[in-house]
């Protein structure tokens, strides 16, 4: 097992060194961090500033904010413009879930397809590494990178709120809901994306086509985000736990498929 850990570490470190030298893999996740942060601040801070009226004064989202208190107890201590801002920052936080999705997709497809394109898989498989070690190594670096990037995005989000929003809003946003969203749900979404990326990458010829297929994962997250923003529902803590349980099942299924795809003979004879 010690040898197995050393082999996983060797390959994961190699992947990390390659990824940081690969702008094609790194830039999309960085762009996504920016893309997921801007809309919230534009709607909650920028637009009212340009219009010269607070969100409370314009009446936008006021009713929805008041109704959301039942689902988001963190909002209970707030009122007026601070309540609306906190409500919006909670709703837009879901957009940050796209960071692990995009990061995992970009990094994992490059990590796997990069080996295929370099024709490096056969030499790797000719070493004592087992296929499960190879699967772990190939997902470990993208997982760590994507998770770190997600938490950096969350950190920037909270820092931005602290700097730009009404006093006390950041405390209402940085509550249990955010912890569940990015401490449990985010890593599970990321893991599912990684596994789908690896499975898709086994059949794809270039990172872009693999990313196009994997990016379908963005659709349900975007749909939920748009629906909640339009007032269809507010996702509270119980719903997040339910989502996490569902993702756990999805990840188990994907792991089962991934282990089958990552068979030495399958990689050598069927991966193209």
């Amino acid at each position: 097992m010690k040898g197995g850990r050393a082999r996983i570490a060797a390959l994961a470190e190699k992947d990390a060194r390659e990824l940081i030298r690969n702008p094609g893999a790194i830039l999309p996740p960085l762009a996504m961090v920016l893309g997921s942060l801007v809309p919230a601040f534009l709607v909650a801070i920028g637009a009212p500033m340009i219009a010269g009226r607070t969100l409370e004064e314009s009446g936008d989202f006021v009713d929805a904010s008041a109704q959301a208190i039942a689902m988001l107890p963190e909002l209970a201590g707030l009122a007026g413009n601070a309540l609306v801002q906190a409500f919006l920052f909670h709703q837009f936080a879901l957009l940050l879930l796209l960071v692990p999705v995009v990061a995992a997709t970009s990094l994992a497809t490059h990590a796997v397809i990069g080996e295929k394109q370099a024709k490096a898989l056969e030499p790797i498989l000719a070493t004592p590494i087992s296929t499960i070690e190879l699967l772990i190594a190939k997902t470990l670096t993208p997982f760590v990178f994507a998770l770190a990037l997600t938490w950096v995005a969350v950190g920037l989000y909270i820092t931005g709120i602290l700097a730009l929003a009404e006093p006390g809003v950041w405390r209402a946003v940085l509550g249990p809901r955010m912890l569940i969203l990015f401490g449990i749900l985010g890593p599970l979404v990321e893991l599912a994306t990684l596994q789908v990326s690896v499975i898709v990458s086994s059949r794809a010829h270039d990172p872009r086509s693999a990313q196009q297929l994997t990016s379908l994962i963005i659709l349900p997250i975007t749909a939920v985000f748009v629906a909640q923003l339009m007032g269809a529902f507010v996702i509270g803590t119980p719903a997040l736990f339910l989502g996490a349980a569902g993702l756990l099942l999805v990840n188990t299924l994907l792991l089962w498929i991934g282990v089958r795809v990552f068979q030495r003979e399958t990689i050598l004879t069927r991966w193209r």
Binding site: R7, E122, P123, T127, R264, T269
Partner: protein, 286 residues
Amino acid sequence: MAADLLVADHLTRTFGDRVAVRDLSLSVATGEIVALLGPNGAGKTTTMRMLAGLILPTAGRVTIDRVDVSAANASAARHAVGLLTEAPGLWERLSVRLNLLTYARLHGVADPAGAVATVLDQVQLADRAEDLAGKLSKGLKQRVALARAILHRPPVVLLDEPTSGLDPASARHVRDLIRAMKDDGRAVLVSTHNLAEAEELADRIAVLKTELLAFDAPATLRSRGVGVSVTIEFEDGSKQAIEVPDLSRVADVVRDLVHAGKRIVRVVPDRRSLEDVYLSLVGADQ
């Protein structure tokens, strides 16, 4: 008699209904180079992969250093083998040293940095250690790949098309490295399409076309049972090429010609090339 380090015993490998390799038996001894010849699709790569412990045979067995390779010990078997794949398969964004260091760690080498320094000296690439692999010429990449195959000091080395696509100078350098492996006491199996190279390097040659068609020393192979060709030169300057089943029949042919009134000056046995033998074995259409 040197010990056989690598033994293939009645290996068969099928993929679905297709038989890639059938009933293949061969061996490579300590300090021996065996060349594996065969047309495209003959099963050479499948054979290499079975011998390297990458895929298991459908039937038969592989023995490396007297240990049977099975699913349970394939990992240890792969450590005992150095495989040069057809493409170098280097990580082009990383330096030569980092490429090799990663493989040293994957093989669990005790002193990865020391092993890399040693092997870089062996392939005369110490001065290119910090170069990005992607910046190297094809010949240098092949030398790095060779270094990767032997850096964990495996007793068995399998080389798939080691000089394919290389310029003559690079190809010669690679052949010198292969000879050095033999001198180090390794068992070396080289898959190649280059018959001259096989003849130059190999102690024995195996000809494969799904089945093993021949396995012998190059000289023995050249003279093997597809007849003997001689050229008879006559006093009037004319020549006649004659094929007979074996050398003992040449005397009969000469006697018949003399009885027929021909005046013979010389009888010259033709040296059959390995190419003639190879083509007669695998079929001229190949």
